[in-house]
C-alpha cells in the first residue's frame, strides 16, 4: 500500500519535472540520444578496479533529485518501459512454454520498476529478448531503457554502461554430467566446455583456465543443447543459469566451488545517471528486510533459506 502511494506521488512529481524540463535554462542530464558510440572493447572506467570489490560495485547515490528524473519522465510519457531480458534462463528470465509468458526473478524486478513508474506493470513493459552479447549494444543504442538479465557488474562494463547497486550475488561454476569424473573446472583442462558470447563466464574461463577448450555460442541455452547432445563436456556460466539447466535435466549436476564472484546489477545507458539514481532509491528500499520486496521475489523463484540481501553501495562519484 505504502508503495502504491509512493508510486503515485513519484508520478505526480515526475509530470511536474517533465514540464520543467522543457525550459531551456535548467541544465539536465544528457538524454540517451547523446550516448557514446557502441563499442565492445571500451577501456574500463577510470578509478575502477575489479580486484577491489567496493570500487567495482559502487553505484550512484539515490540523490534527493531522483524524483524529477528526465529519463523517467520520458519513459512515462512514452507509456512503456523497454526492458532487455532473457527468455531462456529458467528461474531468472524465461518464456514459460505452457503460458507463453516471460517470467522469473529478473522479470519481477523489472515489473517492480515499472510499477513504481506507472503505478502498475501490466501493459507498461515491453520485453526485448536478448542474448548476453546484445545487452550492452542495446543499452548504448537506446533500444532498451534497462537491462535485467543476470548482468555482472565489472569495470570494463562500467566503461560502456552504468549499473544499479548490486541486487543479487552469484558466482560461476561448471555443469557436468552426473557420472562424469570431473570434480571442478580444472579437471576439464583439454576438454570442450561451452560458454556464451559476451558473457563474463567466457572471459573468466579464457583468463583463469586457458587450457579448457571453449565452445562459444550466441545463446547460453544453446550450450545446454550441445551438452545434452554430448558435443561438450561441461558448461561454464553463473550458478543462477546452471541451477536452471540442472532443473531441466536430471542427468546434469553442478560441481566444484564458485570460482568467481558475480555481483548482478541492472544495466542502464551510461548517460542516464538520473534513471540509475531513481532505481537505486527503489532498490535501497526493496533490499531492506523491513520492506520485504526483494525477499518475496527471492522466495518466489529460488529454493532454500533466504540469504542476506546484497549490501548497497552508493559511493561512485557522479560524473
Amino acid at each position: 500500500m505504502r508503495r502504491v502511494i509512493l508510486g503515485v506521488l513519484a508520478a505526480a512529481v515526475l509530470v511536474a519535472g517533465c514540464g520543467a524540463g522543457s525550459t531551456p535554462q535548467l541544465p539536465r542530464v544528457a538524454p540517451s540520444s547523446s550516448s557514446p558510440a557502441p563499442s565492445s572493447s571500451a577501456p574500463p572506467a577510470p578509478g575502477c578496479d575489479d580486484n577491489i570489490y567496493k570500487s567495482r560495485v559502487a553505484s550512484y547515490a539515490p540523490g534527493a533529485s531522483w524524483a524529477d528524473s528526465a529519463t523517467v519522465a520520458k519513459i512515462k510519457s512514452r507509456g512503456v518501459l523497454r526492458a532487455g531480458v532473457a527468455a531462456d534462463n529458467l528461474l531468472f528470465g524465461h518464456r514459460n512454454p505452457i503460458t507463453g509468458v516471460i517470467e522469473g526473478f529478473d522479470i519481477d524486478v523489472v515489473n517492480e520498476v515499472a510499477k513504481a513508474i506507472f503505478g502498475t506493470a501490466s501493459g507498461h513493459v515491453e520485453y526485448v529478448v536478448e542474448n548476453f552479447a546484445q545487452r550492452i549494444p542495446d543499452l548504448q543504442s537506446g533500444k532498451v531503457d534497462i537491462v535485467a538479465d543476470i548482468m555482472t557488474i565489472n569495470c570494463a562494463r562500467w566503461g560502456q554502461i552504468a549499473f544499479s547497486t548490486v541486487y543479487f550475488q552469484a558466482g560461476q561454476q561448471v555443469l557436468v554430467r552426473k557420472n562424469a569424473p570431473y570434480k571442478n573446472i580444472a579437471d576439464l583442462n583439454g576438454r570442450k566446455v561451452c560458454t556464451a558470447k559476451g558473457s563474463t563466464g567466457n572471459e573468466n574461463v579464457k583468463s583463469l583456465y586457458p587450457q579448457v577448450r571453449r565452445v562459444i555460442v550466441d545463446n547460453i541455452s544453446d550450450c545446454m543443447v550441445l551438452f545434452q547432445q554430448g558435443s561438450v563436456e561441461g558448461i561454464v556460466s553463473d550458478n543462477t543459469v546452471l541451477n536452471g539447466f540442472a532443473a531441466q535435466d536430471p542427468y546434469a549436476q553442478i560441481v566444484g566451488p564458485k570460482f568467481t564472484n558475480e555481483p548482478y546489477g541492472l544495466g542502464f545507458n551510461k548517460a542516464n545517471v538520473d534513471f540509475v539514481r531513481y532505481v537505486n532509491a527503489l532498490l535501497a528500499k526493496w533490499l531492506d528486510p523491513k520492506d520485504g520486496t526483494w525477499a518475496a521475489i527471492y522466495h518466489k523463484w529460488l529454493p532454500g533459506p533466504l540469504p542476506n540481501p546484497p549490501s548497497t553501495n552508493f559511493d561512485r562519484p557522479l560524473p
Binding site: L90, P97, E130, M224
Partner: protein
Amino acid sequence: MTSTLAAPPQTRQVVVRAARNAFAGTPGRLRLAGIATVLACLVFGLFAFVAATTRANALANARADAAQLVRVQSIRTNLVFADANLTNAFLVGGLEPPSARAAYEQGIATASKTLADAANDSTADAKVLGNVNQVITRYTGLVESARANNRLGYPLGAAYLRQATNLLRSDALPPLAALGQTEQARVNHAYSDSAGATAWLIAGLVIALVVLLVTQVWLSVRTRRTFNPPLVIATALVLVIGIAVAGVLAWSQGKAKDTRGGAYFATLGLATARIDAFDAKSAESLALIARGQGQAYNASFDNLSANVSAVLDDAARRGGADEKAAQERFRDYLAVHARVRAADDGGHWDDAVKLATGQANTVFQNFSDASGTALDRRSAQLRRNLSSARSPLPAFAWIGLIAGVAAAIAAGLGVAPRLREYR
C-alpha cells in the same frame, strides 16, 4: 612375321588390277553410281532415324529431368511448409494445436517419400539426397526434443527449436537448392541436344538428294533415257519422307520450345514462389519468437515476399486464372502480415501473436491452396506437353529408316538393268 601379314607382291598386284578393272570404263562407273546411290539412300534412312530418335530421347530426358526438378522443389516446399507450421505452433504456447502438428507431420512425410522417389530415379542425385535425408532425421530429432521439453514446461525447448530451424536452413535447404540448379541445367542440356537433331536429318537428306540427282543426270546423258523410273521413285521417297520427318521435327521442336517458355517456366516459378512463401511465413513466426530481436527475420521476410510477389505478378501476367488467384491470395496474406508487424512494432506483442497464429494462418492457407492447385495444373501440363511433343517421333524414326531402305532398293533396281546392258 611381316610376310604372313602383308600379301605377297603378286597377289597385291592382282587385287589392285581387278579393282581397277571393276570400276574402269562405263560399266565400272555404273557400278560405282549404283553403290553410291544405294549407300546415299541408306545414309538418309539412318540419319533420319538418328535425328528423330535423338530428339525423342532428348525430350524424354527433358521430361524426366523436369519431373525430377519438380520433385526436388517439392521436397524443399514440404520441408519449409513443415517448419512454418512448427514455428507457428510454438508461438501459440502450450500444447501445439493438433492441426499444426498434423501439418508438420504431413510435410515431413511427403518430403521423405518424395526424397526416396527422387533418389530412386536418379543415381546422380542419390548422394545429395541421402545427405539431406540424414539432415531431416537430425531435424526431426531436434524437433521432438523441443516438444518433449515444451511438454515439461522447460524453456530449453526453445533452444532445441532454434537449433532445428537453423539446421534445416543451413544443411538441408541449400543442397536442395543447388540440386534444383543442377536439374535446371540438365533440362537446358536436354533442350540443346534436342535442337541438334535437325542437323542429322538435313545432312542425310542433302547427301541422298545430291547423289541421286547427279547419278540421274549422268545416266540420262549416257543412256539417252531422260528418266530412270526407279531412281525417280527413290528420289521422290527421300524427298517426301525427308520433308515429312523434318516437318515433325520442326513441330516437336516448336512445341517443346513453347512448353519451355510456358508450362516449364510457370511450374518453376510457382514452385519457387511457394518455397519462398512458406519460408517467409516461418520468418514471420521466428521474428515474433525472437521478441524484439527479430530484425534479421523481418529483413528475410521482406526479401522472400518480394521474390514471391515478383514471380506471382509475372506468372499472373502470362498465365491463367490459377496464377491470378494465387497472386490475389498472397496479397491478402501480405495485408494481414502488415498488421502483424504494425502490432509488434507498436509494442503490442500479444496482439501480433494472436494475428499471426489466427487470421494470418487462415489467409496463408488460402494462398497455399491456390498456389498448390496452380502448380499441380502447370506441372501436369508440362508433362503432357513434353509427352505429346515426343509422341510421333519414334514412329517417324522408323518411317525414315524404312524409307531409306526402300529408296536404296529402288536405286539398286534402277541402276542394275543399265549395268546388265554391258554384259
